[in-house]
């Protein structure tokens, strides 16, 4: 599948924003629990302004970016209408609804210095909305049966885990800039990173199995694509057109597939190894150096995510390519 730049920016950027909002609500909940000896994650004005600001900017930038690949962006409002059947429409509706509770939570935190009571309740509802929105985003891809590498339950899990991991990795350096006490909630970072790494690794193992042909379930073949029995060997002879058409450009993208192994290693390094190492180093460093090291970790993750997303598209094969030469689905 062709990796459209605007779609990569959309899922990466909004994923980071939703992840940050999720952890702000979870951390505020912890901060309000009296079982903790130290009062953590207070509703600090400047921290709130920067953290919520970055989260909302990331989300809005992502959503706007997604409209850039539309043929008619001015009609984008129509996409809110078909939530009964369409995951893309559900994503649009969920993203707008999410602004209500998370916006209230931000107002309480920033302007009233209050992240407890009803403001916290709004934050918790908002955290659930964030997860729902990221889930809808992932299901736009996960629901497509012609693309075996996407039509997997692993896809929404990976999207959710990467959103949470990137949100946690981003909050770390920001909290330290404003000297926010975070107690043991700092452990969320390595836990989220490990979870995302395991899920992504499992996803790659699963699509490798599918592309080797030992995936689960029956896969369409060239034979079944033209209605002939399995016993026949079918090879493309003459294509319908001499040059590439829309289908081949959109579904037949194979550039990054050739470099898949290298890009997987690079994204493992940037997405998981470097942010985890930064977190570990920060345990032993002075506050100022902590900020620097964690910011480098967040930067690595932010570079790694588009590479991972690029691969997610480039490694996915569409059944329509069975009709064309040199593009077995297997």
């Amino acid at each position: 599948m062709h990796p459209a730049f605007s779609v990569i920016v959309f899922t990466v950027s909004s994923g980071i924003g939703y992840g940050m909002l999720f952890w702000l609500a979870i951390n505020a909940t912890l901060g309000n629990l009296s079982i903790l000896a130290v009062r953590v994650w207070p509703a600090d004005l400047w921290f709130g302004l920067v953290a919520f600001g970055i989260a909302f900017i990331a989300i809005v930038a992502g959503l706007l970016s997604s409209t850039f690949h539309l043929g008619h962006p001015e009609r984008a409002w129509r996409a809110f209408s078909q939530w009964r059947s369409s995951w893309l429409s559900r994503e649009g509706v969920a993203s707008v609804l999410t602004f209500v509770p998370t916006g209230l939570f931000a107002i309480g935190w920033i302007f009233l210095g209050d992240s407890s009571g009803w403001w916290l309740a709004a934050g918790i509802v908002g955290a659930a909305c964030c997860l729902a929105t990221v889930y809808c985003t992932a299901m736009i891809y996960g629901s497509l049966r012609p693309i075996k590498a996407w039509n997997l339950s692993d896809v929404p899990m990976v999207y959710l885990a990467l959103s949470l991991a990137s949100g946690a990795v981003w909050l770390g350096p920001i909290a330290r800039i404003f000297a926010i006490p975070f107690g043991w909630s700092d452990l969320f970072v390595p836990v989220a990173l490990a979870l995302a790494a395991v899920l992504k690794w499992r996803y790659w193992a699963r699509i490798d199995a599918i592309h080797r042909g030992d995936g689960t379930g029956r896969m369409p073949t060239r034979g079944s694509a033209i209605g002939l029995p399995e016993s026949k060997s079918v090879q493309p002879l003459d294509p319908p057109h001499t040059q590439q058409n829309y289908l081949m450009k959109e579904m037949g993208f194979a550039v990054a597939r050739r470099h898949a192994t290298k890009l997987r290693r690079l994204s493992l390094l940037l997405l998981f190894a470097l942010p985890a190492l930064a977190w570990l180093l920060a345990l032993f460093l002075a506050p100022l150096l902590q900020i620097v090291v964690l910011a480098i970790g967040a930067l690595a993750m932010t570079i790694g995510l588009p590479i991972e997303r690029w691969l997610f598209f480039a490694e996915a094969k569409h059944t329509v390519m069975l009709y064309y030469r040199g593009s077995e689905l297997g």
Binding site: H69, H72, A79, Q82, S85, P220, I226, L237, H318
Partner: protein, 254 residues
Amino acid sequence: MTSLPTAPSTKRLGLVIDLDICVGCHACAVACKEWNSGGHAGPLTDFAPYGADPDGVWFNRVHSFEVTDGYNDTNTVHFPRSCLHCETPACVTVCPTGASFKRAEDGIVLVAEDLCIGCKLCSWACPYGAREYDANEGVMKKCTLCVDRIYNENLDAAERVPACVSCCPVSARHFGDLGDDKSDISRLVAARGGVDLMPELGYKPINQYLPPRPRRNRGGETGAGDSLADIAPPDAGGSTLHPFLRWVDRVLSD
């Protein structure tokens, strides 16, 4: 509304394409392009049609395949590919705007182009590549089953079939109601063992493809004799003689 019709009619208009007969002449693809450039879906934009890298929107594409079934049995199969007007078309349900819809009254899958935002998700959801994006108009386009012909009372009754069907020079394409068991094309499908494409995905295509008939390679497979030796005159060239005796015969005859 991109939810599928809750109470669809039993009428299921569609095409039956005979892969045994199709000669791969591309006339259906050209006639489709010609009609639909001026129909509901028109224009079907072309990009650099006379340039080095021509591209354009077509609803119908004819692929040719080499089909091998063991030793000495290789066929060329010409395969016209177009929208199958599926019973459960995911291209419709993924549409976020309501531009894509499946008609309750006859099952035709259409795009209302003035509602389409051009997100291309429907083309990802179609396993058969039936939908093509028109980059010039910023909307998705697809086969309409010539909905502007088949009900058009301004045309002669004989012309009220899809353009691809009316032009096929070998009658490899048939149009009709596949929801009616007694219709001509339903009986044709039953008689010839018509098949769904990619049944693994469960889209339940309405259009059916008739597989090539078993190839008849030798005389015996047609009911004629296996070999001409059976009908050759008994003294034809002394063919029943041992080769040595044939040589002796030839030497002595000189």
